[in-house]
Symmetry: C2
Subunit: 343 residues, 2 copies
């Protein structure tokens, strides 16, 4: 019988099984140094009492939180509406489900080392962190570093931090693939809706677009920036249409923005793909369902998430892990890029 009201403790189990607390602890933690008979009695007692270890007490002594933080320095509104984050979180959650680790979502604006976020990272609530959607000015990784917290970047940081590996996708190459495809469609005035300049993915995709265009001897001045949201994509497309009305192809740095851009093009009487070929980036679910179906670059989000978890676990385990892992992209051709005359 446990003390009335409160949850059963190790002590209760020990009493019920007629052994010491230490033995119960060993059974719970799968320590082999326990006799078969003792183990059986303890297991029976645990079952009988419905015992569940108190994590706080365990954490206090082991100095482990059994959880990792997923840091996303964006507003929760953004996180919960962007399919990119959905994919990332899904991937991480899936990879984590094989472990005993809890995933703790930490959103919100980054700070200068002393806000909520940094406080949290310092509080010892987690055993590691995956930092994603990293912006140039974000520096809370310093907090993590100072606290000795294992960290993995999901998406290459601006300046790699020694000891903090990153997983990235070959953004520049993906963008180049997109442009090459556009060139193959005989497009000669190719614009881009780039991502934010303060994010590596945005900068890399822009660089890839630029490199490929220059290589083909074409102008690379038709650039508008969006913030990876639909509204941002719409605004950027409007700006592009105003500044470069002769465009016949657009590489958009994210599918969310690309779908929005296609709507703007239609609204302006430009047929996609007959007047303008559009290629997105990410290959989110809605890309295939858009009208017209969106040609895009596959961003292996799930694989990245899995890799990130793998690296973090390695880091937490003291293993030697690679400083960087880069995944490749590929082109998926759908209707939005191929003029009907060329089918």
């Amino acid at each position: 019988m446990s003390k009335r009201g409160s949850a059963p403790t190790l002590e209760d189990v020990a009493a019920e099984a007629g052994v010491s607390r230490a033995t119960v602890s060993r059974v719970v933690n799968a320590d082999p140094r326990v006799s078969e008979s003792a183990r059986e009695r303890v297991l029976a007692a645990i079952d009988e009492l419905g015992y569940a270890p108190n994590r706080a007490a365990r954490s206090l002594v082991t100095r482990q939180a059994d959880s990792i933080a997923v840091v996303i320095p964006e507003t929760d509104a953004r996180v919960f509406s962007d399919p990119f984050f959905a994919g990332t979180l899904h991937g991480i959650a899936t990879a984590l489900s094989r472990t005993e680790l809890q995933m703790i979502l930490v959103m919100g604006q980054p700070d200068d080392g002393d806000g909520r976020l940094s406080k949290y990272l310092r509080g010892g609530h987690t055993d590691g962190a995956i930092i994603t959607s990293h912006h140039r000015r974000d520096e809370f990784w310093r907090t993590a570093q100072a606290a000795g917290l294992p960290v993995v970047f999901l998406g290459r940081p601006f300046a790699p931090v020694p000891g903090m590996p990153y997983i990235d996708v070959d953004n520049a190459h993906g963008a180049a693939l997109a442009v090459r495809h556009l060139l193959e469609q005989r497009r000669t005035r190719i614009a881009t809706i780039a991502g934010p300049v303060d994010m590596v993915a945005g900068a890399d995709r822009l660089a890839g677009w630029r490199g490929e265009l220059r290589g083909a001897g074409l102008r690379d001045d038709a650039v508008a920036h969006g913030d990876f949201t639909a509204a941002g994509g719409r605004a950027a497309m409007e700006a592009l249409l105003a500044s470069h009305p002769d465009l016949d192809g657009v590489f958009v740095a994210s599918d969310v923005m690309a779908v929005a851009a296609m709507e703007v093009l239609s609204a302006h009487g430009r047929s996609v793909p007959d007047d303008v070929s559009v290629v997105g980036f990410d290959n989110i679910d809605t890309a295939a369902e858009a009208t017209p179906a969106l040609t895009t670059i596959v961003n292996p989000i799930a694989a990245m998430a899995r890799q990130a978890v793998g690296l973090l676990l390695g880091l937490m385990n003291g293993d030697v892990v690679p400083a960087a892992v880069t995944l490749s992209t590929e082109l998926v051709v759908r209707d939005s890029s191929i003029p009907t005359s060329r089918r």
Copy 2:
């Protein structure tokens, strides 16, 4: 100076400030019974040492986890792709951001009282729980009840549990509004794509549809069930078209399914809204952006989430809280329901 390696503790701060641990604790917890001079010295020491309280130690003694669980008995794939959950989580996160509470997302298949989920609820990791997407067979609330954990249902449970309040939206009334609107468009063969029968929201919306149709003296046999996913909506629409080819109106129990259903209708050469009027439910962002724009019932998800957090906080605080809160719905008329001839 703190002990080498480890994070500074209360003890370190106390030594640095020249006071006792208790005084530091009082400062940290904003206890007024501290002299101004002591407070200042402690604050300086905290700043100097970069002290952050160890949550595990605190939890151990206060028996509070400073976090609440958001239980969603669906696969993480589903949770992270359905805008309904996005809205819910966003609402909860927003409401929680005013507090010191952490939100812990607990997903995965429900169990019969002894799986991962129940273990977690019993482990004392949280001070309360919001259970959403409740299915008929889910019974882990029993675990919570046995553990004395405050629980709020986001969405009415099949059988209300005394002491566990619920927030719900008037689903039946919303469905009735939808049907009434369809009747006003002179639709006489009105079908429905209902939600899963094992979820209250599904059952209530079906009942609302049925009641209104019968009231109008129309047949209520054109029913297909979907699981609130796009794929489910597509399949249900196909089934409906096969079994009731004469339908001229459809009330779909969720926008995600409604958008999918409209695609199927188009693919079958049925014009929406000229041949068939469609009304959805939820009013997610994409409803307004669909082609045609989807007429739907506003589901006040954010308000529900806010209410749920409010009730849970009240419960955790020992306040007397209402056993149920029901929010009302309203109709938003867009293009999908009104034949062009009637504009």
